[in-house]
Structures are given as C-alpha cells and as structure tokens.
C-alpha cells in the first residue's frame, strides 16, 4: 500500500491549462474522492496519478518514491474506467486474468486469484461469458475485479458508476466503499456526483478551474466550505448567498440586522443552507413572501422573496410545511451557527458561524 503526494502539478493541453498547480496528499489506505463539475481537471489529475498523462510541472510521489516519469506499469496501480474498457474479444476470465498474465504469474496462481476476485464481486458464474453478454452492472463488476486482481497499491476509479441506472448506482457505491475498506487499498475516485463523493470518500477534494478548492472530510466540506464555489457546489438545493454589510460588529442583510459579528468589516457575502432555514424561529429572522412551493413529499422546497431587499432565498423545509401557499407572508429564520461569511471579491470563507 502507498500514500500519494501530488506537488504543484501543472498540465497544459496546447493552450488550455487543465491543471494549474494541484497539491494533494492521499494517505495510505484512504479513499480520496475528486469532486467537481465537468472540465474541472479531476479526470486529468487521476490520469496523471495513473501515469497515462505526464505533468508539465510538479511531482507525483507514491510512498516516498518519485514516480513522475514512470510509465503506468512501474507504478503498481489499477484503474476502473467510466466505460469499463473491457476487451470485447476476451471472455470475462481472460479479462480479469490479463493483468496477471502480463506479470507472468503462474497459471494455477492466475486461476486462484481470478476466482478470488470474482467471488469478491459475485461474478464467479460469469467467467465464461463475453462482455457483450453481460448487463451494464455485471460489466462494471468485471472491471472492478480486473482492477483488484493484482492487489494494487493504488486503485483509481474514473466515474465508474455514471453509466449505471440510479438504483444500481446506489447499491454499487456502498459496495465499492466496503470493498475498499476490506482491501485497505489507497483509492482515488473521480465523480461529479456529490452524494457519491460523500458516501465513498474518507476525504473529498473539491476541484474547479484546474485547482483543488478544498480538501476535507465530507463533514468539513459541508459545514466549513472554504469558499463560495465549494459552498454552492456541495448541498442541494445550493447554499443561499446574499449581500450583506458588517460595520462595528453589526451585520445587516435582507432588511434586518444581527449584532456581535466580530473580526470582519465592510461588504461581505453571507451564506446559509436552505435546509437550515426554519419558519418563525432562529437568531436572524427576516420577513418574506412565498413565491413558489415544490413538494417533494418528505421535504418541501420553498422559494421566498425577501421584501425590500430584492433577494431570493430558497428554503428546504419539512413536509409539514407543504400547506404554504404562494403569496403567503412568513417569518423565516436562521441560527447564528449556520451563517457563513465570505469575502465578496475572492469568495474565500471568512467566518463559519457568527
């Protein structure tokens, strides 16, 4: 097993800069998820870890060993591709056995290891089939079996679940998590699905514009977003961000005020999550008019327009509030601890909880 260090990775494709100095440490045996919108550089980062791309600048270090210029075969990595990348002309057995045969493993050992991997993924009965005779979920299991059969130090996954249907995706993501725990393998997992990221990642690296925006446990990312990008990218519906001014410890926003906000002065952006809004309670209360109600059964998404301030706020309330009607006046509130303050120029977080 190995830890992974990425130090100042820069990658350009022609004139486009895909990665502008990525620094990331993945601990030994940790599941690290790279999360971000498409084009943020997460897949490029993964491919650099795999050795499929070479960085223009920076170093890749596996457990103290500099592997920046080593080809994939000298890195002891394995990878699961989004398309599964099974070889259609080989049976499932041969697909899984291929990496072992490349390493010149003895044939009785090959059979034993293939069987071990196939049993772990519950595909022993499919070994004689060809990939096109399998369902998408089964193909996915074969791809994972092929990746773990060599017991690699580092397991890389590039959006492995995005081609599965919703139900299977939920089932597989917890299976992948269990498998990673059981094997104790260091894993880097790329996804654009934040729920998947939260479930699978011991830690999550949120990426955008070719940079790591924040690294942290799912709780840290959710509770203490480092900037407005992370704040709005994580959580659904996304965090409300409204303009505010702090002067002498007095924060004014949404036509109301709250005292005792220390350490920050001037214009700020104020964020609070829709699910943290309560009706008729909270340290900060503001009157609003119901614009629109989306009833999701368990929850209700309520669009509120704040009188005077010209701001729109989304609230995620318990299903009990489904009786709210457009045009109705409510008093919405937020707790002090749920309020985030961001720098309006850089977007950087200044304070979590006021």
């Amino acid at each position: 097993m190995a830890s992974i260090m990425l130090e100042g990775i820069v990658k350009r494709f022609g004139k486009t800069v895909a990665l502008r100095g990525v620094n990331l440490e993945v601990r030994d045996g940790e599941a690290m998820v790279l999360l971000g919108p498409s084009g943020c550089g997460k897949t490029t980062t993964l491919r650099i870890v795999a050795g499929l791309e070479r960085p223009d600048e920076g170093r890749v270090v596996f457990g103290g060993r500099d592997v920046t210029n080593l080809p994939p075969k000298d890195r002891n990595v394995a990878m699961v591709f989004q398309s599964y990348a099974l070889w259609p002309h080989m049976r499932v057995f041969d697909n899984i056995a291929f990496p072992l045969k490349i390493r010149k493993v003895e044939s009785s050992e090959v059979r034993r290891r293939v069987r071990w991997a196939a049993e772990l993924l519950e595909i022993e009965h499919l070994l004689d089939r060809y990939p096109h005779q399998l369902s998408g979920g089964q193909q996915q299991r074969v791809a994972v079996a092929r990746a773990i059969v060599t017991e690699p130090e580092v397991l890389l996954m590039d959006e492995p679940l995005s081609n599965l249907d919703a139900i299977l995706r939920v089932k597989m993501r917890s299976e992948i998590k269990k498998l990673q725990r059981r094997l104790g393998v260091t894993m880097v997992y790329v996804t654009h699905d934040q729920v998947e990221a939260m479930v699978i990642g011991d830690r999550v690296a949120v990426m955008n514009y070719g940079e790591v925006q924040q690294v942290g446990s799912p709780q840290e990312i959710y509770n203490e977003p480092a900037n407005t990008f992370v704040a709005t990218f994580i959580g659904s519906p996304q965090m409300n961000i409204v303009k505010g001014v702090i002067s002498g410890g007095l924060l004014s926003l949404l036509g109301t005020q709250i005292e005792g906000v220390e350490g920050v002065e001037g214009e700020v952006l104020v964020g609070f999550r829709p699910e943290r809004i309560v009706i008729g309670d909270g340290d900060l209360k503001f009157p609003a008019i119901v614009d629109f109600v989306e009833d999701l059964g368990s929850d209700v998404i309520v669009h509120l327009s704040v009188e005077g301030a010209g701001e729109l706020v989304i609230a995620k309330l318990r299903g009990a509030h489904a009786s709210l009607k457009p045009g109705e006046k409510v008093l919405a509130g937020v707790m002090r601890s749920d309020i985030h303050i961001f720098d309006p120029k850089t977007g950087r977080a200044l304070k979590h909880g006021v």
């Binding site: 795999a50 050795g51 499929l52 080809p71 994939p72 075969k73 990595v77 394995a78 990878m79 591709f81 989004q82 398309s83 990348a85 099974l86 070889w87 259609p88 002309h89 291929f98 990496p99 490349i102 390493r103 060809y130 990939p131 096109h132 092929r146 060599t150 890389l156």
Partner: protein, 282 residues
C-alpha cells in the same frame, strides 16, 4: 402503415433503379458464363444470348487438362504472389497505421500526406522506373520482384485504411491494458489486432483481389512461361489467328474463383470492417 411505406413511389423507383444497375452489372458475367458452357460452333453461330442449344463442361475440362494452356502453373504463381503480397503489407501497414494514429513524432503529418500522394499516383507512370529498379536488383522476371511491388503498393492504402479504423477504436481499452502493465507490443498484438479483425479482413480481401486480378505489372515484369501468373495464362488461351471463346471464358471463370472464395470467407468481417467499431460487440 408498413405496407404503405413499402409501396411509396420513391421506394419503388429506387428499388427498380437498384435492380436495374445490379442486372447491368451482372450481365457481362452471365455472358461469360453462358459462353463457357457452350460448344465452339454454337458460340460462334448463335452467340451466348440464345438459351437453346447444348450445355457442356468440355471447355473447362479442356482448358484444365490441355498442357499447352498450363493454367496450373498460373494458379500456383498467382498464389505465390498474392498471399505474401496480402499478408506482408497487412502486417507492416497495421504497425505503421498504429504509429500514425497513436504516437506523435517529427514529420508525422508530412509522412502521412506522402502516403496519400503515393495512393494517387497512377501505376502506369511508375512502370519504367520500376522496370529499371527490378532490373538492377536482378528481380526482373522473378515472382519476388512482383511481390515487392504489390506489397509496397498495398502498404500505402492499407496504412491509410487501418489508421482510420484505429482512430475509431476507443482509447480506454488500450489505456486499461497500459495501466495493467502491458507493453505497446502486447497492446498491439493482444488488444488492437484482435479488435481490428473486421478491418484487417476487409483490407485482406481487397488487397488479395487486387493483386490476383493484376495484369499490368505481371505483363511487364514477368515474361517466362514458367513465371506467368493466372491473368497472363488466361490471355495465352487466345490463339494468334483464332479465338476459342468458350475456352477463354472457361479459363476466365476459373481464374475468378480464388478471389470470390476469399470474399465469401471474409464477408462476415468485411461488412463489419466497413461499418466500423460498435461498442461492446465482440
């Protein structure tokens, strides 16, 4: 609904045109076949288009057994030329095409354009320099000389053809192998070539037929009777003062059989090679 669709005038007309073209295309072969199965007198007096008359295999028997025609040597030589002239360029061109489609190297585009230009050159313009080249190599009137020329000619178009096919293959099936530790040679022979079987089969069928049917190069570079290929031997059936059309047709039909068999054997792959890569189909 469906019947209506089938009977639409546009559909009827396009079908009629297609059948008409197909029949026109087939007509010379029908004529050839009819002629080859009729006795000499009937061919000369009635022509092939009359259905009445005697049918016989005598022409086939004669053309195969009479030693003055010596088709057997022609067949043997044609196989000696066509097999290596198909397999060698296929392997070389596949390797070249893979390099063109996957690696970047100096002057890659210039080299590729050169290949395209070579494909556009008419063979006739090259024949005199080639003649002197073979002469200086001592390969004139040698099967090896013709094999080399056909192979070189084949490498150009097969490289072009295979590169286009390789570019359609999904990259991640190769990258998966690379991550698993396979060398480029392993990837090429164990992943790329098996996946490219349809295209290789299509190229093989076309190249084989092309080489087999060649008359021009053979005529110029091979002149001893024992070195002649089948297309030349068929021509010798035609006497200097008299043409036995029946014999000549029988010889021609026999000469056609090998390429037709190659097409038939590779047809399954051939169609898929032309249609391209379909994800997930093995």
């Amino acid at each position: 609904m469906r019947l209506k669709h089938v009977l639409r005038p546009a559909v009827i007309i396009s079908n009629l045109v297609a059948w008409l073209v197909a029949l026109l295309w087939l007509l010379p072969f029908v004529g050839l076949f009819m002629t080859s199965t009729r006795p000499f007198e009937e061919v000369v007096l009635q022509g092939w288009w009359s259905l009445a008359g005697n049918y016989t295999l005598a022409n086939y028997v004669e053309v195969l057994t009479d030693p003055q025609y010596d088709l057997a040597t022609g067949f043997k030589n044609s196989f000696i030329v066509a097999l290596p002239s198909t397999l060698a360029p296929l392997l070389i061109a596949a390797l070249a095409a893979y390099a063109f489609s996957r690696f970047s190297f100096t002057m890659r585009n210039l080299l590729f354009v050169t290949i395209l230009v070579i494909m556009a050159i008419p063979q006739q313009t090259m024949v005199i320099p080639l003649f002197f080249l073979l002469k200086s190599m001592g390969l004139l009137d040698q099967l090896l000389g013709v094999i080399l020329i056909h192979s070189s000619w084949g490498i150009a178009w097969i490289t072009f053809f295979m590169r286009n096919y390789f570019s359609m293959l999904p990259r991640d099936v190769e990258e998966a192998a690379r991550v698993d530790g396979a060398s480029y040679a392993t990837i090429f022979f164990r992943i790329i070539l098996p996946l490219s079987l349809p295209a290789l089969a299509a190229a093989a069928a076309i190249q084989f037929t092309w080489v087999w049917a060649d008359f021009f190069f053979a005529l110029i570079f091979l002149y001893s009777p024992e070195n002649m290929v089948i297309t030349q031997k068929v021509v010798t059936i035609k006497g200097q003062y008299q043409i036995d059309w029946g014999l000549l047709s029988a010889g021609s039909i026999l000469a056609m059989i090998p390429p037709v068999l190659v097409y038939a054997a590779l047809q399954k792959y051939y169609l898929r090679g032309m249609a391209g890569w379909v994800t997930g189909k093995g």
